[in-house]
Structures are given as structure tokens and as C-alpha cells.
């Protein structure tokens, strides 16, 4: 098992998920990527999809991948709470500790981090909604 596979196994363990990749796992510094294309002679500045990190946090895409089969460390929120989270707010009143996957009844919405009874917003600034026309 290489470092990438090992990290994916730890992530699946954390979230009780059974995500398997259709492609290659690549660990670059502390970031885990999945790449489904063929080998190329070209050198790129970005390759594949970033799904998670060595601290067991997930990107939105990683949460979407693992979240469909996750059975632990998941938190279900209402659609209004999910929208508030995407507006950049923290969500109060949630027990637990550490990284979690957030879901609504319809879909996986991304990663979160529970600290002191609140889901701290873990979305990058660029992935928060702007509440204006683009």
C-alpha cells in the first residue's frame, strides 16, 4: 500500500465510507489527489482532483466522494443551515469533535470541523456564495 492508498484508507476509516478510486491516487505534499487520466509526458501545474489532506480533512469534492457511503462523523443539517454555511457562517449547537462531512436530506454539501459545539466553517473563501450576480 503506497502513501496515497494509506491516506485514503485512513479517510475511509474516519468517515466509515467505502470510497474506491477509478484511477490513481497521488499524494503531493499534504494533499491527496485522484487522477483518472492516462500517463502523460507533459508536466502540469495541476493534475486531477484534490479530495483531502493528511489531517483527515476533506475538500468539498472529497466530501462528495466519501459522503455517499459515509456512516460516521457525518452531520445532517437543514437546507437553510446549509445555505447559511455556504454564506460563510458557523453552525452552532452540534456535539462531537474534529472533521465531519455535512449533509442535507438531499445531498452531501461538504466538509466541516466541529470545535466547542459548533461547526466551524471549513469552506475556502472562493467556494462561498457571493449573494450577487456573477
Amino acid at each position: 500500500m503506497d502513501e496515497g492508498e494509506e491516506l485514503l484508507a485512513r479517510l475511509n476509516g474516519r468517515y466509515g465510507s467505502s470510497y474506491t478510486v477509478d484511477g490513481r491516487l497521488m499524494l503531493k505534499k499534504d494533499k491527496l489527489f485522484v487522477y483518472s487520466g492516462p500517463e502523460s509526458k507533459l508536466r502540469g501545474v495541476w493534475n486531477g482532483l484534490h479530495i483531502g489532506c493528511v489531517d483527515l480533512s476533506l475538500t468539498i469534492e472529497g466530501a462528495q466522494k466519501l459522503g455517499t457511503t459515509a456512516s460516521k462523523n457525518t452531520v445532517t443539517v437543514t437546507t437553510n443551515q446549509a445555505r447559511a454555511y455556504y454564506d460563510g457562517e458557523d453552525l452552532k449547537g452540534f456535539p462531537g469533535e474534529g472533521p465531519v462531512i455535512l449533509k442535507t436530506k438531499d445531498r452531501v454539501i461538504g466538509p466541516g470541523l466541529i470545535v466547542d459545539g459548533a461547526i466551524r466553517n471549513s469552506l475556502p473563501q472562493s467556494r462561498k456564495t457571493s449573494r450577487r450576480g456573477l
Binding site: 508536466r43 501545474v45 461538504g110
Partner: protein, 296 residues
């Protein structure tokens, strides 16, 4: 909107009696916008439901199964950030569909990634998609969109598109959405008018001619190139394609088009099989598209 005299006289010559209708499109405020459903993460049905829940009216884009016209500009919903759809001009949905899926696909001027991510969904996450751009801030936007839309088979590169033929791979599909005078974006950005001059158009055309040769030379035999711009001038469209046909005798022009799309033929005899999309026909931004096959 103050129209420069040079712009006006050029487009009056190009469009004749249709010039006023053409201009009217740009003078009117935007009333409809468009999005492309990202089938790597969602379905048309799901995105329609999201829009209904948010009181956004929608209808089909006639030439793209995954395209939706919408009646709101407030489209940066949570589901947008989740990557369920991409906010995009309906005209921009044309070129990736004309090119279609391949095994080794390159988009030479890919940022911010609308057409590259469209190609990715046509490829269904299989094969190699090289998304190239040479501008660092624009590459950041490209990476953001590739990530947001969940594309797993993309390799983002930073080559000068004019020298792309020197890269170590050959492709069966190449998209060249060349930097242009962008008359098609006039409705959204009036800035173009202050820059517009024939001198500027000619300098862009020189770069486009170098790019189209490099794009063509990066094809494997039998491969297909789609050249597209969002502008109107002959110099940046038909003349660039004619330059390629003159420089590469094995290049063969195919008739460009899509079901459901009203497209007019190119404005010169040699580039007749290229396609022009006009706002007075489609209600969408002007576009030019040419499909070229290598050899065969």
C-alpha cells in the same frame, strides 16, 4: 453606449441591413442568462428542481441538452459552489459539442474553464484532457472551476499556445478558443469598445494565425481541430482559417454546425463551411466556429 466610428463602419459593411438588429442585441439589458448542467456531478432534472425551489424560471438551450436559459442573474447559489452547474453563455456551449469527446484532448486557451469542463463531461471523466493557459491568474480560475466541477482527468499546463506544437504529446481533438477582440462580450463589458480598432484586430489576428498552426500541428493524423472565437471580424475568423488551409495543404474543413442551432455559413468562399452564430438569429452572443480535420 458610444459606438466608435471605425467599429460602426466595419460592422455596417459586414452586416448590411442587419446592422441595426445586431446592435440592438447589445443595447438591450440582459434579460436571460444561461447555465450548463455539470453531468459529472448532477442531472438536468436535479438542476431544474434547484431553480424551481429558488423561483428561477428556466427553459432549454436549443443546441445543448445540458444547457438551460434562466431568467435570473442571481445564480451563485450553494448548488453552484457544489459544482452542479456552470454559468456560461449559451454560445460558449457550441464549440465543445462540435469537437466532441476524444481520448487525448487539448484545450489550448482553456481559462477560465467553461469549455474545458464541458469537454470533460462529454468525455465522461475518461481519457486525457489537457487544459492549457499561459496566464497565472487565469490558471487559478481554471483550476478553481476544474476542481469545483469534479473533473478527475484534467492536466493543467502552462504553455504558450503559439508553441503548443512543441509539447511532447499529440492529440486526437484540439480546441482553440483564441484570444480575440471579444465583440461577443459587449453586452456584459463595454470596455471592448474603447480598445476596438482595426490595428488591434490585425495584431490579434497575427497571434491567432500562429496559434492555429501550432494547434493543428499538435494533432495526430486524422485528428480534429475546432477553432472558435467570440468575435465578428473576418480578420480573426475566416481569414485565420484560410491561413491554416494555405499553410497546411492536408487540412480539410468540415461543415460546422449542431442540431437545433441556427448557424450561418462563413463569409468567404474558401472558409464557407465555417459557421457564424449571430445574436439576431439565436438571442445569444455572436460566435464563430470552424472544424478542421488533419489529413485523411
Amino acid at each position: 453606449m458610444r459606438i466608435p466610428r471605425e467599429f460602426e463602419s466595419y460592422h455596417m459593411r459586414l452586416l448590411g441591413g442587419e446592422y441595426r438588429r445586431f446592435l440592438d442585441y447589445f443595447l438591450q439589458p440582459d434579460e436571460r442568462y444561461s447555465v450548463r448542467v455539470n453531468t459529472l456531478k448532477s442531472t438536468v432534472r436535479e438542476v431544474k428542481r434547484v431553480f424551481s425551489e429558488n423561483a428561477i424560471g428556466y427553459g432549454p438551450v436549443e443546441w445543448c441538452r445540458e444547457g438551460l436559459w434562466v431568467d435570473s442573474e442571481n445564480l451563485d447559489l450553494m448548488e453552484h459552489q457544489l459544482g452542479l452547474y456552470y454559468i456560461q453563455s449559451a454560445s460558449s456551449m457550441i464549440a465543445p459539442q462540435v469537437l466532441g469527446a476524444g481520448d487525448w484532448v487539448a484545450d489550448l486557451c482553456a481559462a477560465p474553464g467553461g469549455k474545458a469542463t464541458h469537454l470533460a463531461q462529454l468525455m465522461g471523466g475518461r481519457g486525457l484532457l489537457v487544459a492549457n493557459d499561459d496566464n497565472a491568474p487565469r490558471i487559478r480560475a481554471l483550476v478553481y472551476n476544474i476542481q469545483r466541477l469534479g473533473v478527475e482527468n484534467a492536466l493543467v499546463t502552462k504553455f504558450d499556445a503559439c508553441r503548443f506544437d512543441r509539447c511532447a504529446e499529440r492529440f486526437d481533438r484540439v480546441l482553440l478558443d483564441a484570444p480575440c477582440s471579444s465583440v461577443g462580450t459587449l453586452r456584459h463589458s463595454r470596455e471592448i469598445l474603447s480598445k476596438w480598432s482595426m490595428q488591434w484586430v490585425r495584431s490579434l489576428a497575427e497571434v491567432q494565425k500562429r496559434m492555429i498552426i501550432a494547434a493543428y500541428d499538435s494533432l495526430m493524423d486524422g485528428g480534429r481541430l475546432v477553432y472558435t472565437t467570440c468575435t465578428t471580424t473576418l480578420e480573426e475568423n475566416e481569414h485565420v482559417v484560410e491561413h491554416l488551409l494555405g499553410e497546411r495543404p492536408d487540412a480539410r474543413l468540415k461543415r460546422a454546425g449542431l442540431p437545433g442551432l441556427k448557424i450561418r455559413r462563413g463569409l468567404t468562399e474558401r472558409a464557407y463551411d465555417t459557421g457564424r452564430v449571430w445574436p439576431q438569429d439565436t438571442g445569444s452572443d455572436p460566435h464563430f466556429v470552424a472544424e478542421v480535420v488533419k489529413g485523411g
